[in-house]
């Protein structure tokens, strides 16, 4: 079981590559922020899998803080940093 948990944690870590690509590519700021949200959720899953595989109960607390605080950056973006007119398209 430990092997399966570690393997799945690694697979989830590798899926973050897709999130990185989207964060780099955009094109709108909302897309980049979405990528960070994916980072947050995937990291929660990775932490929970590691917690079980390594037998470290404290990692569940880390995952819980993750789950709660991932929303704060997104709210800061929506409430403050999102420009009113959509100008941020990458010139391609």
């Amino acid at each position: 079981m430990q092997l399966l948990n570690l393997t799945l944690a690694l697979v989830l870590l590798l899926t973050l590559g897709g999130g990185m690509w989207r964060a780099l590519r955009g094109p709108t700021p909302a897309d980049r922020l979405l990528a960070v949200q994916v980072f947050g959720t995937t990291a929660v899953a990775v932490l929970l899998l590691l917690s079980q595989a390594l037998g470290n109960a404290a990692l569940r607390d880390v995952a819980m803080v993750f789950a709660l605080l991932a929303a704060v950056t997104a709210v800061a973006f929506v409430q403050r940093a999102w420009p009113e007119e959509e100008v941020d398209h990458d010139a391609e």
Binding site: A43, L68, A76, Q79, D88
Partner: protein, 320 residues
């Protein structure tokens, strides 16, 4: 080599590579916004690295601060720059500096490659095994009043570090307030969904903060992590449009801000006056004393971080 020893290696390798990539993109991306997004992702990846280094206490602090506070701080600051100021970077680097830059970009790159090689050599030449101070900590942990070694170091063995740190935080806030007002911030009415989200998340965050404070005595957690979660609750409230009433932002706010520093200072004075070492706890009551100091520190650090996010002195009753 079987799979169970190989897998952690691949995991560490991917984590390290991702850290380096995210850091480079955070600093090299053409847009500031992309840079900040990458920096937040970098912070999240750091917390996985902490977990791999057996440092769940640091992972908690990094998650609470990296995921919650730093991103909100940077985005709020970016929002205060006008589009022109945010784009200045690319404009000024284009025409007039281009020739000089091309020449001078190689010089620091070369120099830094040498710095990197030197540091890497220094790290590699360190002995592969070193227990550091862990034996001393383990020998004295029974007398410290707590069973989590990191909390024991933070509050007991090196309590003066924590004392100075909360003074540094207070100093940072005083400096920010001294700089004066900022341009007014665009405020968006929160709307029903954000309103409900804030109402649900704030009590849960407060509960989690109290839980981390309490559990810090024996497992990962403690005053700083609890304070960061508390500050995240405050930042969420500010983002949803809540402002403290003026009658709370005068004396009451300042009392909360100095509660932690004053309690720490009073305790250190008492320990000196009674002939002990600075911040040396009497072992039978160490657990209770540490909890009291931590509770005050959590409150003060949390409120200080929220005030730092606000960025200017909130208007109080006298209308200042």
């Amino acid at each position: 080599m079987d799979a169970l020893t190989l897998l952690p290696w691949i995991f560490d390798g991917v984590t390290g590579l991702a850290l380096l990539l995210l850091a480079s993109w955070a600093l090299a991306s053409p847009r500031l916004f992309t840079g900040i997004v990458m920096f937040v992702a970098f912070g999240l990846m750091m917390s996985i690295a902490w977990v791999r280094l057996d440092a769940p206490d640091i992972a908690l602090a990094e998650v609470a601060i990296g995921a919650g506070l730093t991103g909100a701080l940077l985005l709020a600051a970016l929002a205060r720059l006008t589009a022109a100021q945010a784009a200045q970077e690319s404009a000024s680097q284009s025409a007039k500096r281009k020739r000089t830059l091309r020449l001078f970009q190689w010089a620091p790159a070369l120099l830094l490659a040498m710095v990197a090689a030197g540091l890497a050599y220094a790290v590699q030449s360190l002995p592969p095994d070193s227990a550091g101070l862990s034996a001393d900590v383990a020998a004295n942990i029974a007398r410290s009043g707590v069973s989590n070694p990191v909390t024991a170091v933070l509050l007991n063995f090196r309590g003066y570090d924590t004392l100075l740190e909360i003074l540094v935080l207070l100093l940072a806030l005083i400096s920010v307030w001294t700089l004066g007002g900022l341009s007014p911030q665009r405020t968006v009415p929160p709307g029903p969904v954000l309103d409900v989200l804030t109402r649900v998340l704030t009590p849960v965050l407060l509960l989690l903060s109290a839980y981390l404070l309490w559990v810090g005595a024996r497992s990962p957690g403690g005053a700083f992590q609890a304070a960061a979660v508390l500050a995240a609750a405050g930042v969420l409230l500010l983002l949803a449009g809540w402002r403290p009433q003026p009658r709370f932002t005068g004396i009451p706010l300042r009392l909360v801000l100095v509660a932690g520093p004053v309690l720490f200072l009073a305790f250190s004075l008492v320990t000196i006056a009674t002939g002990r070492n600075l911040m040396e706890y009497p072992p039978p009551r160490a657990g209770v004393l540490i909890f009291l100091l931590e509770a005050a520190a959590t409150l003060s650090i949390g409120v200080t971080l929220v005030a730092l996010f606000l960025g200017e002195r909130p208007p109080d009753k006298e209308g200042q």
